[in-house]
Symmetry: C2
Subunit: 253 residues, 2 copies
């Protein structure tokens, strides 16, 4: 019954022009901070209706290493740069990140509670700072690319002392999917092809670079490289293929 | 200093014939329950030196749905079957699963504490039963294949109400890697190629079937299919390529 009510609510919101971002486990593409590339895909987020704002997990916390903070500061400075021609913001944007997919779109908190109150985004399911995925995505809308600064916590272990292949796949899926969503609207992952070249030590900070390869009809292809924080060492490379979807399909509409 | 002592200890243990299983974030291949295919890869686990035995995460708990329990019972019964020719155990084995990679091999708990006390296997990093990955792997040594019964908890969300692509990649990496480790000894993931065909609803139980494709020199190739619990629906298919490694390399030996 709860489920039926939830689905009804989803369908109604969807018919009413409710827009989703971050479908395939992406971070939310945010509100005023990220102008959507096409007007019909714009988020229609009203003012936050609750007493406290949602936690943005992509902001610095006490677990961040100096290297993580340094890279955050570096890309944040790029976000504040002005173009020479006129006094408008440059191409870089920091994307906020929340722990629910639906929660913060169109005041959708109630919606996700009905669907499943306890569900949490896989990459943000542990509250302890620094324990699992610490990451922040910076988007370059001009170049149709993004870079994610990723600090891998001690709960992501695979091989002794190193990051689990599944955790690497997870951050790759999240970052490439975020870019695909920004460029093409709601998408689902259709294929991930990942080459693991060099293991990533637990606790280290790496960069996840993603760039658009091509868009063909409903398919958006994104390339990805995970490197050491100085860019000198290639840990992983990958491609992600994403297919545009009608969000209602997820709810059986 | 702690790290140096840890590496020294690792190297010493390794020289002394210390054997690892489950390298690339696998579950431990266990003790007496799983005869290794080659004598020189056998675990040399002495009697458990601590007061309480380690928790085996692959045993039933209160979060398991009736479907999860039914499938567990089904494959457990196969493990107890006797062959017709003689009264010996059939080809099926349930693999135990712990939350550290090194911890329970050769009394290695101290070892992993020195390396990083707080590190936990990515798939077993949340203690709350049912919240994230509930899974158990059954190996068929005759057929060089295995099946994993996987119940996806509410903390694995990606698309609203569905399992994150990274969480699916994680269980695939774990299961195919477990089989590769059993067949070829210590390995690392070199490539994962994953086709996402149909999203997996949060809370559902699926089967992860893995089988050996081929072994060529240091390379072991494993195929994988994630299906609904009745086998009727294909959610995901994948191949995993694994490369045999010298464990010492992970520690800079």
């Amino acid at each position: 019954m709860m489920l039926r009510q939830g689905l009804h609510l989803v369908r109604k919101l969807y018919r009413d022009g409710f827009k989703l971002t971050g479908l395939a486990g992406r971070q939310s593409l945010g509100q005023a901070q990220l102008p959507a590339p096409q007007p019909d895909r714009a988020l229609t987020v009203s003012s936050w209706p609750f007493s406290s704002p949602p936690r943005d997990y992509s902001l610095p916390n006490e677990s961040w290493t100096p290297e993580m903070q340094r890279l955050y500061d570096h890309y944040s400075a790029l976000c504040e740069a002005e173009t020479e021609e006129e006094k408008k913001r440059g191409p870089w944007r920091r994307l906020p990140s929340y722990n629910r997919t639906l929660k913060y779109a169109t005041g959708g908190r109630c919606l996700s509670k009905v669907l499943q109150a306890k569900a949490r985004l896989f990459t943000r399911n542990i509250e302890e700072p620094g324990a699992s995925f610490e990451y922040v995505v910076f988007l370059n809308k001009q170049e149709k690319s993004c870079v994610c600064v990723f600090q891998a916590g001690h709960l992501l272990e695979g091989p002794p002392g190193h990051v689990h292949g599944g955790a690497i796949a997870t951050i790759i899926d999240s970052v490439t999917g975020t870019l695909a969503t920004y460029l093409s609207g709601p998408v689902m992952t259709a294929n991930l092809n990942i080459n693991y070249r060099s293991p990533i030590p637990l606790g280290s900070v790496v960069l996840v670079h993603s760039a658009l390869e091509k868009v063909e009809g409903r398919k958006t292809s994104i390339s990805c490289r995970v490197t050491s924080s100085d860019g000198g060492k290639l840990h992983t490379d990958a491609t992600g293929l994403f297919v545009s979807i009608n969000v209602g399909h997820l709810f059986g509409a």
